[in-house]
Symmetry: C2
Subunit: 438 residues, 2 copies
């Protein structure tokens, strides 16, 4: 080891941070050899030093004072694994101001305050590395930022949220309703006590924002694209999709279409034979398309202690070697490519899956088809089974599900048609609508 | 652009080199921005400057004199895309001696002379980058060498040869015999006029040697592991595999088993529902297992002009930025980890697929089962169809195929059993044997 040890402060000692400590302190760890220098954990800032921990650290390393951990002039790099956006933002900006390199797994922080954090780092001449912020152990940040430098990336289609993918896989595989699976996932610790950010698509959307910025130099706000969660999916939707030859995944998509950026995070029907449709459980997958490389697919553990720690340690090695410092100022995080505008949602063109609950009366299908037709939406297929799940309205009508697959149309046309459809007295509940991937 | 242009010499102007030139000279190419400097192609060495080319280069760039191209004191980096091992070795060593960084896509060169080339570069303080040498556009060299630095890699299972995978996919998908498909692949230009290296497993084995050296710091010679080609496969093998729920792929495997290295390149039966079994056509796929990251899968175009050029350009950007120079001395190419020995082939334990052609006579199956049993090989399943392809020996016996799947056993036991089986007069042709992946 010619070089001096890399001195680090870790903020937080939850699951991932413990994993990082475990890798760095393991016997015969391979990390120092590959970095050309050793790692010296100077401070680990936690909220409560008296809490029992499953990793052992030398005396004096644990502290409740993140400010000193971040400002210690001896420290080279601050690893932010505390989560949240309030204190994390303070801590990261304080670290940058003190001239420390920053490694973070905090996609919420970067999706919300990325511009501020990246600009501060650039001005100060330090780097921000964030491999662990997207897709856990899958090295997608490096792939997009460093390994496809000869490419113009044209599209990203990805499963980026393990919790919702686990829920969808269980629903489809075991024919269990959403609420059941969610409750079990919470009991097993796969889902948070408050799973809102996972199941409503926010987490996946934050990751997509980061990937898009890195791949296309364009910062998009969450409010600029469609985000639809999995929390309104019924088990019947999984079964209809299967009958039609599809599987449903919470798909995050960025595509360049005629010089505009199409983006959305939605439960989406994917042909069952595609790799992405077969990505089950807590796995993540990213399908990229570059103009030179063609299609490139990466899949692996999108979360979990050691896979995420693997990504954090890769960043640490990059900082130790000096690669991260060279890479950061050249990333496409700053382009703000003015030629790329976000395609307004209404103009997005796709096929759609529509599931209605309708009164089992004459002329119902004709009414629906008429409205769709007047909005220039043509039907590709219809399913209405003879022995459906039976429900009844207050008026005593028998309610049956009706599924329609459309041909290609725009989101705008569909929205107009939908607002008319909602006024049909024979449609008894919210219309379920999902896009179908090409 | 603060830095001066990176000056390069390209050796060869075949398919891949033309792709590299095309990326670097395209209008609004994104490469210079990402590298922080521009690229200046000083020399392109070819065998015949008068041959018509589909890329345009400034006057004086094309030359038949590779020695001057390599030795020009102005040149920073030599991109070796001439192929072959004789002149390529000379050229690369000359470039290194002249203090140039080297980028090469030449797996044969590195599999055969890697130690010499890597050591020369290390001594001279230059780097050798070779992303394009394995799996074309898939950034597997970077992933193994730079992105999984917190992991001990435990296994690699991969499809690394596009030509043989194309042939196997066509045989299985279109029920066509080997010779037919090969002839078509050659006519279409997918297979070389002499496809030996592709179909006998040499190409995949060379790539596996490189990946293994990088992932495990252990240099293994091609003679130390089993290499079996696809050229003895019959269409019937594809059909039996399918009947049993498998697909056959030319699988390259490195695994650490009890501190020893199990390696082989063989047509292998893989459960049909696995992603690797569904990787068809000219695609490549690499499944890695690391102790922290768990399973990570990368798939994409394993060959072809632009995917391979994408990998070469990524290396060029790494050299331009200085990342490649920092990375190279720290790669696990030098460990020669003495604790890892190569597991002798006889000790490898797997299940096997055996296909016999036997005389349709009493006691044939009993004789085979008896020999296998005496070698402690137990049978998992047997297929002998009632209406088989009928053949006849000189003695007039009717010849029928018989397929046996064994339980787990060693290669050694199977080899002993096989040499006894070959002496059975009721077995009329070579025994086809393939491992079954776990």
């Amino acid at each position: 080891m010619a070089d001096s040890p890399l001195k680090l402060s870790i903020l937080g000692l939850g699951t991932v941070a413990s994993g990082v400590v475990r890798i760095l302190t393991a016997e015969n760890e391979p990390v120092s050899r590959r970095a050309g220098r050793s790692f010296d954990i100077r401070h680990v800032a936690v909220r409560d030093v008296s809490k029992p921990r499953d990793v052992s650290l030398p005396d004096g390393v644990l502290t409740e004072d993140w400010q000193s951990a971040v400002s210690d002039p001896e420290v080279d790099v601050v690893v932010e694994l505390m989560g949240g956006t309030m204190t994390a933002r303070d801590a990261v900006l304080t670290a940058i101001a003190a001239g420390k390199h920053v490694i973070t797994a905090n996609k919420a922080l970067l999706a919300e305050y990325g511009d501020e954090v990246f600009s501060a780092a650039r001005e100060k001449g330090v780097c921000v590395a964030f491999e662990a912020a997207v897709a856990g152990g899958i090295p997608i940040i490096a792939t997009v930022g460093r390994l496809l430098t000869g490419n113009r990336i044209r599209s990203i289609s990805a499963i980026l949220n393990g919790t919702s993918n686990f829920i969808l896989s269980e629903m489809a595989g075991k024919r269990r309703p959403y609420d059941d699976v969610l409750a079990e996932a919470q009991a097993l610790g796969y889902a948070e006590a408050d799973p809102t950010m996972d199941v409503d698509g926010t987490d996946a959307a934050q990751k997509l924002v980061l990937l898009t910025q890195l791949a296309l130099g364009k910062r998009v706000d969450l409010s600029q694209f469609i985000r639809q969660g999995i929390d309104t999916l019924e088990l019947s939707d999984m079964l209809y999709a299967e009958e039609l030859g599809y599987r449903i995944k919470l798909l995050a998509v960025t595509r360049v279409v005629d010089g505009q950026l199409e983006m959305h995070v939605q439960p989406t029907l994917l042909r069952a034979d595609r790799a992405i449709a077969q990505t089950d459980g807590a796995l993540n997958i990213v399908e990229l398309e570059g103009d030179a490389v063609g299609q490139l697919v990466l899949s692996g553990a999108g979360a979990g202690q050691m896979p995420t720690a693997s990504a954090v340690v890769a960043d640490l090695v990059d900082v130790a070697i000096g690669r991260a410092q060279q890479t950061f100022p050249l990333l496409d995080l700053w382009q703000h490519d003015s030629r790329l505008s976000v395609l307004p949602p209404e103009k997005i063109e796709r096929r759609y899956y529509l599931r209605f609950k309708v009164a089992d009366k004459p002329h119902v299908i004709a009414d629906i088809a008429d409205i769709l037709g007047r909005h220039e939406i043509s039907l590709a297929s219809i399913i209405q089974h003879e022995a459906p799940e039976v429900d009844a309205t207050e008026s005593g009508d028998v309610i049956v599900p009706l599924v329609i697959m459309t041909h290609r149309t725009t989101e705008g046309r569909l929205r107009s048609a939908e607002s008319e459809l909602r006024r049909l007295p024979t449609i008894s509940a919210a219309i379920m609508r999902m896009p179908v991937a090409d």
